[in-house]
Subunit: 107 residues, 2 copies
């Protein structure tokens, strides 16, 4: 589910925006309400909610509403999926370089 390309697409798109990365950064230190997420950002609460909805649609953040406050959490599994995508490509490249090195050393 997490490795499906559409979800990956949403995740990388979500991470592309500085405000959303700042929100993820804040959430990495612990859960927060929408207002708490909004506090350090120089934009309206409404804008923050829109960013939050994207983050949630991407799977990077899970939220839960109790009473009138929506509490937000990071979803580490989703972060790991994005991490993994990058890691695989980098390793693929580095392994290729290693093989090339071995080949040249054999000469």
């Amino acid at each position: 589910m997490l490795h499906d390309p559409a979800q990956l697409d949403l995740m990388f798109q979500a991470l592309a925006d500085p405000a959303r990365r700042q929100m993820v950064d804040r959430l990495s230190r612990g859960p927060a309400s929408v207002s708490q997420l909004a506090e350090p950002l120089a934009m309206s609460l409404s804008a923050v909610v829109q960013h939050l909805n994207l983050l949630e649609a991407s799977g990077l953040v899970r939220t839960r509403k109790v009473g009138r406050v929506r509490t937000c959490q990071i979803e580490p599994k989703a972060l790991r999926a994005a991490e993994h995508w990058i890691n695989e490509r980098r390793l693929s490249w580095e392994r290729r370089l290693d093989r090339l090195g071995d080949f040249l050393a054999e000469g």
Copy 2:
């Protein structure tokens, strides 16, 4: 240089587009010319060049022109920087969960 927030911004922005990720994926298997990068993509060569310029500006890809062909390579250091950003946030969250578990286990 690589951890400067502006560069990180460019990297995540570059990775946000499916076509550009496909190009990175292709390059993870070895160097390629612009035309080779373009071949599997359903868009004009011109569009591919524009994507490539973004990838290069972000630091994710390095290119070098010899004669009339521009050869492209992945820059693993840049991939690692993006990977690292995500990894730090995920670990921060997971460490927090661990401490919480320890605290509850102590009771």
